[in-house]
């Protein structure tokens, strides 16, 4: 472990260049004033720079390692997107600045809305949700608002397949809905008979990811949409796997009524160690009045387009505001730059090459002796292998493989998700990885399996990381969530 910044701190040391000169007189009444001195670090600029640079080097990242974390779309984040979003005119713009001083920014946002509409086949887009999970919240709230506006007050059930991301049922609960779980058929598609039995006058909607988290495209989607619509429910599209179909097929054409997009996945904005994300939502005609505000509008006059915010007045039936201002604008700018660079034809190639890479890696791992969860199916942009047999026969679990891969200098795939496939690894290579990288990954996987068969145990892997396997039970039982110096 790198020594904590607090232990590098020395009383009285300053990074002087950072602080302005100020008079020491505090114009605040005694009773409201702070009396204690919080223990923030006291360090030089070099010490701080060195500390955090050294810490950063203890991370795996896309820039340094292959990162096939299934369902997270860890593709290359082009440098230009970051640099251009941080231009002083954008980075320094106050969110409450007048639109007269925001036309350049708003033009980007408006065009982003338009591009996202086209890619998803939707009628309207709001960029304000700050992450996928918030996009989900917006989506379910819009579905509720729609039923309510029609006086259809009994619909409070949201159907969620058992393979869904945990955010789906958690979101439905936050919206005050009842979650109804739907089983998946043995081929990975939705169990149509079970769906027919589940829908009814209480159905508010269904939340689906397609391709699903099982890495397959649901072939029955047209029928699924019809069953749900006929029952009076709406269809929610979880855009987590949009990278698999971008430019090939559109959620709107699949009859979905609302979608959230994870711009940090498909449109390559940074994952940043766990955020910021961005969960823009798109809707079909029925849900347009309910979009979260603000939305960017455009007016053309004398050949000049001007942009403005559409808020409470323009959208009186909106589900409301989800962020203090307009969402993660800086992330949206990065997505805008990315989409403009990739362009119309490139957009299609994202899905094509992401799918090619996944199917290639799936074929190679199958040939190397790994068991596919759905061997009869095409992979989408990701696929699942199950180590059920290895776990039973040679005591090699999904967790062991994940940890052993770290020693081979690969980030682990997603483990133990979806919950319904035992000992699973969900693998998503993305389109930005080369064939050589995939081949080398297959070699590492093969080596791990061979070593395990020869009797090597990976129960204590990894060995080459800054720390060994960590005691999670102790972490939860003896909570140490902040450093406090010994008294």
């Amino acid at each position: 472990m790198e020594t904590l910044i607090f232990d590098k701190s020395r009383s009285g040391r300053r990074a002087f260049a950072q602080a302005p000169v100020a008079d020491d007189a505090v114009a605040i009444p005694e009773s409201l004033r702070r009396k204690d001195t919080p223990r923030l670090p006291e360090a030089s600029e070099l010490q701080v720079v060195r500390h955090f640079t050294r810490l950063s080097r203890q991370n795996f990242s896309i820039d340094t390692q292959f990162y096939p974390l299934g369902s997270c779309t860890m593709k290359y984040n082009p440098r230009a997107c970051n640099a251009l979003a941080l231009l002083p005119g954008f980075a320094g713009r106050h969110p409450l600045g007048p639109v007269s001083h925001g036309q350049g920014f708003l033009a980007c946002m408006y065009e982003l809305q338009e591009m996202l509409k086209e890619v998803t086949g939707m009628q309207g887009v709001s960029l304000t949700p700050m992450a996928g999970a918030q996009g989900e919240l917006a989506g379910v709230l819009m579905i509720q608002a729609y039923h309510k506006a029609r006086g259809d007050l009994e619909r409070n059930e949201i159907i969620v397949p058992d393979a869904a991301h945990g955010t789906n049922p958690a979101t439905a609960t936050m919206c005050g809905c009842v979650v109804r779980e739907l089983p998946t058929g043995s081929d990975g598609d939705i169990d149509i008979a079970a769906l027919k039995a589940a829908v009814g006058p209480k159905t508010a909607g269904i939340m689906l990811t397609n391709p699903s988290t099982l890495g397959v495209f649901d072939r029955g989607i047209v029928e699924v949409a019809k069953i749900v619509h006929d029952a009076g429910g709406l269809l929610y599209y979880d855009g987590a796997n949009l990278n698999a179909i971008c430019g090939k097929v559109r959620p709107g054409d699949m009859e979905f009524d609302v979608i959230h997009m994870n711009l940090h996945k498909t449109f390559s904005t940074p994952h940043g160690g766990g955020g910021p994300g961005s969960g823009a939502v798109g809707v079909g005609a029925r849900l347009l009045p309910f979009l979260p505000i603000p939305v960017v509008g455009a007016t053309e006059r004398d050949g000049v387009t001007s942009y403005d915010w559409l808020a409470e007045e323009a959208l009186p039936q909106s589900i409301g505001r989800l962020s203090g201002f307009m969402g993660n604008a800086g992330v949206l700018l990065r997505a805008y730059v990315y989409m403009r660079m990739v362009g119309r034809d490139g957009m299609r190639r994202l899905a094509e090459y992401a799918t090619l890479n996944a199917n290639y890696l799936q074929a190679r791992l199958r040939d190397a002796g790994f068991k596919l969860a759905f061997p009869e199916r095409r992979a989408s942009h990701e696929f699942i292998i199950t180590l059920k047999n290895e776990a039973r026969e040679i005591n090699l679990t999904a967790m062991d493989v994940a940890k052993a891969l770290l020693d081979h200098n690969y980030h682990a795939p997603t483990t133990y998700f979806p919950l319904l496939v035992p000992e699973c690894l969900l693998i998503e290579p993305t389109e930005t990885e080369s064939k050589e990288t995939l081949d080398n990954f297959v070699a590492a996987m093969t080596a791990i399996a061979t070593d395990a068969k020869a009797g090597t145990s990976f129960k204590e892997a990894p060995y080459t990381m800054p720390v060994r396997r960590l005691d999670d039970v102790k972490a939860a039982r003896q909570l140490d969530l902040a450093y406090r110096p010994p008294k």
Binding site: G104, G273, L356
Partner: protein, 445 residues
């Protein structure tokens, strides 16, 4: 093919290994009537040089106005080192630290962040951050309902100084689980809570914003004790920079606030039209299991050496699904990294200097503005770095005229103008604003 490394040979060999004759074959499970041919609404791709030119034009188009707006987002000097380091690929392009052994950089950074933000707010524990300050209040309200089991009313009281947008966001996010938000009455001369208050039946929590949205300083001790005496928890909404000067939520009243949330943006995050920012959340130890979001803990590894990992995950959506404390999945990792570097560079003494300078600049601006005819402070009493002033004419027209002169003169409260001059403003900047205001008021007379 932007960012796709495949050569034609690669593609051919890969298709052969799959046993497919073309890439289109890989999509043969999709019902053919759903496949589209092209995305006409998306423009054709631009080279990096072309998009760079376009973005430079658009950024320049928005000008570089002299900005005196605050109202929840504040212009501060950000040391160069902050984003130089935060955008290192190892921070920028990593994800949630699910594989702890390969994510110690992010995990230790968050642990250090949690330490700093608990020190600053004077509370015991922190999560790894939420989306922003406004959604932080929504999550804190839901958390208070879970924590305060004795109060069954679902009523959350809001002090009059709570940012109106925060209330809107809290209603939109948290208003679907039988939770209601009610404003306490205001004392018209101070802008703070009225002297006589009625808590009503079984209030779950009282939300107190300090400094208040219109810039006043609330008597937080009185309100905290008042709420606690009535069985309500206290949720503090605070500007983290103000805590360099103002009493920390953990010291409010006799027992201290229970939960503190706020907008982390002043700690090294650019204004950037409203985001990405980060919401911080800290609380007393007894509420930790009701906290939403990621939490990092220190533990030991197989060799008994210290290390960091995500902990208390049993609260979260990927384990608990429909019974999770929240649907939240991400934190604002990159923003937290920047804030941790910012706080490390400044230290408490540096934060104090920034806060003092901002307070003194605002005081200077207000002194000069209120010397103009027809300009007065809206509320009496002390302030931090934001003050509401009333004009003798409509605020919107004055702001528009200022904007024409490339000055963003403040936030329009309807009946007043909320001005803020942070440490980034010089005496000359302030003079420039005051001169323009004098000129405009004289002309429109």
């Amino acid at each position: 093919m932007p960012f796709i490394p495949h050569t034609e040979d690669d593609t051919r060999e890969m298709l052969a290994a799959i046993g497919a004759s073309s890439i289109d074959d890989l999509f043969d499970e999709i019902p053919p009537q759903l496949l589209i041919k092209s995305l006409d609404g998306v423009p054709t791709g631009l080279s990096e040089m072309e998009i760079s030119r376009l973005m430079h034009q658009r950024a320049a188009q928005d000008g570089a106005p002299l900005c005196f707006i605050g109202a929840g987002a504040y212009e501060h000097h950000i040391p160069q080192a902050v984003w130089d380091i935060a955008t290192r690929g190892e921070y920028y392009s990593a994800y949630t630290p699910y594989q702890a052994e390969a994510s110690q950089g992010t995990l230790q950074t968050i642990y250090e962040y949690q330490t700093m933000i608990t020190e600053l707010t004077g509370l015991d524990v922190s999560n790894a951050s939420l989306y922003d300050g406004a959604s932080g209040l929504a999550e804190a309200s839901l958390m208070a309902v879970r924590s305060n089991r004795k109060a069954k009313s679902g009523r959350i009281l809001l002090a009059p100084g709570v940012n109106p947008n925060y209330e809107k966001v809290a209603v939109a996010i948290a208003g679907h689980q039988n939770i209601t938000f009610e404003r306490l009455p205001m004392n018209g001369s101070t802008g703070n809570a009225a002297d006589k208050l009625d808590a009503g039946r079984e209030p779950v929590a009282l939300v107190i914003q300090q400094p208040s949205f219109p810039g006043t300083l609330e008597d937080v001790d009185r309100l905290t004790d008042w709420a606690h005496e009535r069985g309500a928890l206290v949720i503090a909404v605070v500007n983290p920079l103000s805590l360099a000067l103002l009493k920390a939520p953990g010291s409010w009243g006799t027992r201290g606030a229970d939960i503190a949330v706020g907008e982390g943006q002043p700690l090294g995050v650019p204004l950037s039209s409203g985001g990405p920012y980060f919401g911080f959340m800290t609380c007393r130890q007894e509420h930790v299991r009701q906290m939403p979001g990621r939490i990092v803990g220190r533990t030991t590894d197989l060799d008994d050496n210290p290390g960091f990992t995500l902990t208390l995950q049993a609260r979260e959506q990927h384990i608990r699904r429909s019974k999770a404390t929240s649907n939240i999945c991400t934190n604002q990792g990159l923003m937290v990294t920047a804030a941790t570097i910012y706080m490390s560079l400044l230290g408490f003494e540096g934060l104090r200097k920034v806060a003092l300078r901002a307070q003194q600049n605002t005081a200077l601006l207000v002194r000069q503005l209120t010397a103009l005819p027809g300009v007065q402070r809206l509320y009496e009493g002390p302030h931090f770095h934001e003050v509401a002033i009333s004009l003798d004419r409509p605020v919107a027209a004055v702001l528009q005229e200022l904007a024409r002169r490339n000055i963003l003169g403040g936030y329009d409260l309807g009946n007043a103008l909320l001005v803020c001059a942070t440490e980034t403003k010089t005496a000359a900047d302030i003079d420039h604003y005051v001169d323009a205001m004098r000129d405009i008021l004289a002309k429109q007379d």
